[in-house]
């Protein structure tokens, strides 16, 4: 497709379980971002990739959160031992370069029961 694709669109899990969220960016975009958005709030930065490497992971809240982008395209956000406070919409965005506009996916809504 032409846009950023995120799967699953909805994920319901139980406290303590492991979750993976996938992002397929726009073809050719070198920069990829993960954000988390809680209800009524703005997106909160988690991590930014330039190519395969994490250029800035300062937004990851703790070591339960990890993200990879092994081939510089698709990225996976991994959350271990999920907690109820992890419930949010996780947004992925990509960009063709630096300091420019971001193209967002529709998000993955995570609910931890």
């Amino acid at each position: 497709g032409a846009g950023v694709s995120q799967t699953p669109s909805n994920k319901v899990t139980e406290k303590g379980k492991y979750v993976e969220l996938r992002c397929d960016p726009i073809s050719g975009h070198t920069a990829l971002y993960w954000y988390r958005q809680s209800l009524g709030q703005g997106p909160e930065f988690l991590i930014y990739f330039q190519g395969t490497g994490a250029a800035d992971d300062s937004g990851l809240p703790n070591d339960r959160f990890f993200a990879v982008r092994p081939e510089g395209s698709v990225s996976t956000l991994k959350i271990q031992r999920t907690e109820r406070g992890d419930s949010a919409v996780y947004l992925c965005a990509s960009s063709p370069g630096t300091n420019g506009e971001l193209f967002f996916g529709e998000g993955s809504r995570l609910t931890v029961l």
């Binding site: 909160e44 330039q50 965005a93 630096t98 420019g100 996916g105």
Partner: protein, 112 residues
């Protein structure tokens, strides 16, 4: 953490009126961007203004930037019901390698 604060938090106007939203931020920036988000959907980029620019236009949108006051405004002229959405400002702080930090957003409601 949120960089920007949008003002007002919520705005309700009638179709045809103009809507003005303000954004304040805290750091030195490379550029400032405005995004729109319909309920339950992803964000859509509206306009980007660089730190050395003071005003920019795109269709019915007008953005101003005052770096001395660390503030920006977004004006939507002749609003339509379809403009109903949340609007966010976002900044790229100088030296942070493209990390885009969002504000808290303004919820705009345009009624017929």
């Amino acid at each position: 953490s949120q960089q920007g604060e949008e003002d007002p938090q919520a705005l309700s106007i009638q179709e045809g009126e103009n809507a003005t939203m303000n954004c304040s931020y805290k750091t030195s920036i490379n550029n400032l961007q405005w995004y729109r988000q319909n309920s339950g959907r992803g964000l859509v980029h509206l306009i980007l203004i660089r730190s050395n620019e003071r005003e920019k236009h795109s269709g019915r949108l007008r953005v101003t930037l005052d770096t001395s006051k660390k503030s920006s405004s977004l004006l939507i002229t002749a609003s339509r019901a379809a403009d109903t959405a949340s609007y966010f400002c976002a900044t790229v702080t100088t030296g942070t390698a493209s990390k885009l930090t969002f504000g808290t957003g303004t919820r705009l409601q345009v009624t017929l």
